[in-house]
Amino acid sequence: MKKLHYSELWCSSPRYWGGLAALAFVILIGLGAAFYMEHNGHMVTGMSNQIVWGLPHVFAIFLIIAASGALNVASIGSVFGGPLYKPLGRFSGLLAIALLAGGLVVLLLDLGRPDRLIIAMTHYNFKSIFAWNIILYTGFFTIVGLYLWAMMDRKGIQYYKVMGFAAFFWRLALTTGTGSIFGFLVAREAYDAAVLAPMFIIMSFSYGLAFFIITLMSAYWWASRELGDLRLVKLKNLLGVFVGAVFYFTLVYHLTNLYITQHHGIENFILLDGGVYTAAFWIGQILIGTIVPLFMLYSPAFEKNRFAIAIASVFVLVGGFFQLYVIIIGGQAYPMTLFPGKEVVASSFLDGVVASYTPSIPEFLLGLGGIAVAMTLVAVGSRMLKVLPESLEDPEDECV
């Protein structure tokens, strides 16, 4: 095997700066949208006292769980000793940090009082899984930062294994925490399920890897560097396994609910007559996010076809976004049962009826801004740090 050289991403200036400028523009628009929502209050959004978490939460949670999943490639290299994955570890760490930062920016700017960030960091209620998440997020930055250092600095090499394990366990805790934000909500029928925590972990594997494949391919295209088939095919096969696993967890979640009479209402809502949520589930999550990518990843017709790999990864992300939309918004839209056996005839507060929610443009722009923040951090990070191998040519002694 040839000796590996890492170097900063270098692209001809117009291509690099042009790309950065485009990302900065999206961030600026996102910040403008956040300011608009903050200035006028959440009245300008589609959110209400019925749908309290809207589109920004879908974006934020999507990015946060993708962040922990993006670290998987590094973990496979250091924790599970996969030699082919090891050269990708640095970039995996950088991407994880960037995605988490992007998600947190969205989460923060959607708060009613984002100016009180310092309170969130100084006042802790340790019974709150949300408070634990704040600690988990901060810890993730620190641990993955140190992990990156251990991978990149000669002085840090002795801590490489330890940091690899620490980062791996921390990312599992982080996604468990994120899943539990919903899993611990006993009152709502769509959420009261312990399976949500492991389901979020497997979702993070899938979205994180899809993000990784797309950004890796883009970076190597951007820098005109060589990216061999061997690693891409391994990554793509792994993605297929993860997509299948997410489908399995979805199946278990719904089968469990279908068995419990009390949950028939919510199942009927999501699977059959929930309108936009039913469509988001069947077309978004199942068709676009599961069936089509599985076909593209495993069909012999697309073997080693890079375009197919890229499209399949994008589809996994789009499907994942719909999946979170169904979980987060659909789960809130379905009315809570306050009075079993009774029908709500009249209520000024929309008891017993499906809550309506139309996402507003500022919410969407804020979410896009979060993705742009993540991508900017990746672009600047790989320009400043030696995270990407100069070449990822296939080793001569191995074949696909």
Binding site: N49, S128, G341, L350
Partner: protein, 258 residues
């Protein structure tokens, strides 16, 4: 492939240091401007010798009567909030604060009609308090569950957790408010059993007074821990229930004939 000539002017370490420093300043700066007031009423504060609660007799709750809702809105300055220009009535209804609401129910099997007011149930084990990351959602020693609006960050997790949909988020600018019920855009609020009355020696809530004035007497407020209070006696005599008793939250608000 590495082109040394393309190195940026600023040294890498310097760049990273400055970026981290700037992020730190941006995080802490707004907090420095915040003055965190100390919460606490006049006099001695809440005592755990009492637990404030309520009994609603749904048989006495009249159809189409909104006296309790109107009184609550007036007492807590909710009526001072107006629908923003250009907002639809439906959206305003979904976004405006509602501390207490009337609900009309029909039994699916028997067709029996029930009217009742829904508000914060002041649980002994409130899910909103469990989930609040900063501790802004809290339960007083006397059982009243409320929000410390000095440390509420507006994350709305309490609203996700509340099984009764009792909480409201303030979606727009607040122009007029009362001294006894301060209100701020971007924070969450809910029924606090007219805490401003209790802390000044009051023994009734606005909704109870209004219901009594209209001659219904469906709402009875009092001390659950005092065996001689009218509330405790009524609870002993009548069979009452908690809404969503399955969650075992031991609510302070109880209902009869539901």
């Amino acid at each position: 492939m590495s082109k040394q000539s393309d190195q940026p002017d600023m040294k890498r370490r310097e760049f990273i240091n400055k970026t981290v420093l700037a992020a730190g300043v941006a995080t802490v700066a707004p907090g420095v401007l915040l003055a965190i007031a100390k919460a606490g009423g006049p006099g001695t504060g809440a005592s755990s010798d009492v637990r404030w609660g309520m009994l609603v007799d749904t048989n006495k709750c009249a159809d189409d009567c909104t006296a309790c809702v109107d009184a609550c809105n007036k007492e807590n300055g909710i009526d001072l909030m107006n629908r923003p220009d250009g907002q639809s009535e439906a959206m305003w209804n979904a976004q405006r604060p509602q501390w207490i609401r009337k609900v009309k129910l029909k039994d699916r099997q028997t067709g029996e009609i029930t009217n009742l007011p829904m508000m914060c149930q002041h649980c002994e084990f409130p899910p909103c308090v469990d989930v609040c990351p900063t501790g802004a959602s809290f339960k007083r020693a006397d059982g009243i569950v409320m929000v410390d609006r000095h440390i509420c960050i507006g994350c709305r997790y309490c609203m996700m957790a509340c099984p009764y949909k009792a909480r409201s988020f303030i979606h727009s600018n607040v122009e007029h408010q009362t001294e006894r019920a301060p209100r701020g855009k971007g924070c969450v609020e809910s029924c606090n059993l007219c805490v401003h009355r209790i802390d000044y020696g009051g023994t009734t809530t606005a909704c109870q007074d209004a219901c009594e004035k209209d001659g219904h007497q469906a709402i009875l407020f009092g001390d659950l821990k005092d065996p001689d209070s009218a509330l405790s006696k009524a609870l002993k005599q009548k069979s009452s229930r908690q809404i969503r008793a399955d969650l075992e939250l031991n609510t302070g608000v109880r209902y009869t004939n539901v």
